[in-house]
């Protein structure tokens, strides 16, 4: 996918309903092409992707560009304009979607609890969603108008990794690694209370070095990106690898049931044993029902970004060879 195609895709996503989308996109595409060709003719060479990005930035944010094809002057205003006509159609779409989800949840709850939902909870949900989304969209509207960065959907391969993101990730991973190393050496109890003293089951320690490896990879990646934010491919590559490997590791983790055990089960009451079994079941369901979905989604997202990086690198290589 070329940079212009990325941009047109972003515009397409925001175009209001009922407009001739392909016609509009063809016209914008033609304009972008003409602008790029004119600049290339002036410079006597092909534009780099960074220079192409400038052309797209000059054209405007996809949201604003698409919003201008909307129905004229529809906006939300209480005295001053809260949400301008450019993002008003998107605001309406999101609000309606939220309302529909809210109504569906109320209907399901009423059905599940076998009692009719009152009008008040329904109205309060609708009202809260209206206020919440209006505040969020009015902030977006203001930021859009004040921001110098007009196009905020550049593809991942052109965006450096923000330093705050690397720094905060580095702190979290280091703290987790320190804790995990301490767990391995000292094997402290998870819970020291007299009525239910808990500790990790021995099965966890089989994964000790794997977890250290995962965390160490995360620390190295974040430290490198802190120094070199432009090495954005490293971020997506490492995330892809760790999330894919975490999926494999999950298979072994869930087979280590039980995950937590009582430090001294001989004197435990039936109630305590039941509570520990319940906790283990909860962990097992989280590992089987939630964690795979999380890692799979993350792996898929990072695979998508990594593929874009690879295509970008191949294009750059092709451009160098032809030059």
């Amino acid at each position: 996918m070329t940079l212009s195609e990325h941009y047109l895709d972003a515009v397409r996503g925001f175009l209001p309903r009922g407009v001739p989308r392909e016609d509009i996109l063809a016209e914008i595409s033609e304009h972008l092409q003409s602008t790029i060709e004119e600049r290339e003719a002036r410079l006597g060479r092909r534009l780099t992707e960074r220079e192409q990005e400038e052309v797209l930035n000059d054209y405007g944010s996809p949201m604003i560009v698409a919003g201008r094809y909307g129905s004229g002057d529809r906006r939300l205003a209480f005295g001053g304009a809260l949400i301008g006509p450019e993002i008003f159609p998107l605001y309406v779409r999101v609000l309606i979607l939220n309302w529909c989800i809210g109504v569906a949840i109320h209907a399901v709850l009423a059905f599940a609890l076998e009692r009719p939902a009152g009008l008040w909870p329904f109205l309060s949900t609708i009202g809260c969603q209206f206020v919440g989304l209006t505040v969020v969209f009015s902030i977006i509207d203001r930021l859009q108008r004040r921001s110098k960065q007009k196009w905020y959907f550049p593809p991942a391969y052109l965006q450096p990794i923000p330093r705050w993101q690397s720094a905060s990730g580095l702190l979290v991973c280091t703290a987790m690694l320190a804790w995990w190393i301490m767990v391995g050496f000292a094997r402290p109890p998870l819970r020291d209370a007299a009525e239910m003293p808990l500790e990790f089951a021995p099965g966890w320690y089989a994964l000790y070095w794997s977890v250290i490896l995962f965390l160490a990879a995360g620390i190295v990646q974040r430290a490198v990106n802190l120094a070199r934010p432009d090495w954005n491919w490293l971020h997506y590559g490492v995330r892809l690898a760790t999330n894919a490997l975490a999926l494999v590791a999950l298979y072994f983790v869930q087979s280590q049931y039980p995950f937590i055990v009582l430090t001294d089960s001989a004197t435990a009451s039936d109630h305590t044993l039941q509570s520990v079994a319940g906790l283990n079941d909860l962990i097992w369901w989280a590992l089987v029902g939630i964690a795979p979905f999380y890692f799979l989604t993350n792996a898929a997202i990072n695979a998508w970004f990594s593929a874009q990086h690879i295509c970008y690198a191949m294009r750059q290589r092709g451009a160098r060879v032809s030059a």
Binding site: I24, A26, E27, I28, E30, H31, Q33, S34, T35, D58, Y59, G60, I64, V65, R68, Y69, G72
Partner: protein
């Protein structure tokens, strides 16, 4: 109390929006596609954002003031716009209106300048 830049910007946008439509209609007495129209207007001193120009052209076309046609030029398909018969008539009316506003504004400015000078 100082006037916020947002208020000034909104007034500027209001002032420009009508003028841009008249300018586009006048320039489209000769056929153009979007890119060359924007360049022609910029060369004559009227800069207009691309993302404003194209929706404006579509609006004027939907109002029957412009005609458009996709045609191939230099091996690329381009959408050419030109003034319709109705557009010509409306443009004449708008230019008369513009002329009247311009003259009135000129008189207002001259008179207010004289009064300030007399104080």
């Amino acid at each position: 109390m100082s006037v916020s830049p947002e208020v000034v910007e909104n007034l500027r946008i209001e002032l420009r929006s009508g003028c841009l439509a008249v300018a586009a209609l006048a320039q489209l007495r000769v056929e153009h596609y979007g890119y060359t129209l924007r360049k022609a207007l910029a060369d004559l001193g009227l800069d207009i954002e691309e993302s404003t120009l194209y929706p404006l052209l579509r609006r004027l076309e939907s109002q029957g003031l412009l005609l458009s046609q996709w045609r191939e030029e230099n091996k690329r398909k381009k959408r050419f716009y030109r003034l319709s018969k109705d557009g010509e008539r409306v443009l004449d009316e708008l230019l008369d209106e513009w002329d009247g506003i311009n003259k009135a504004l000129d008189r207002i400015l001259r008179r207010s300048t004289q009064k300030v000078a007399q104080r």
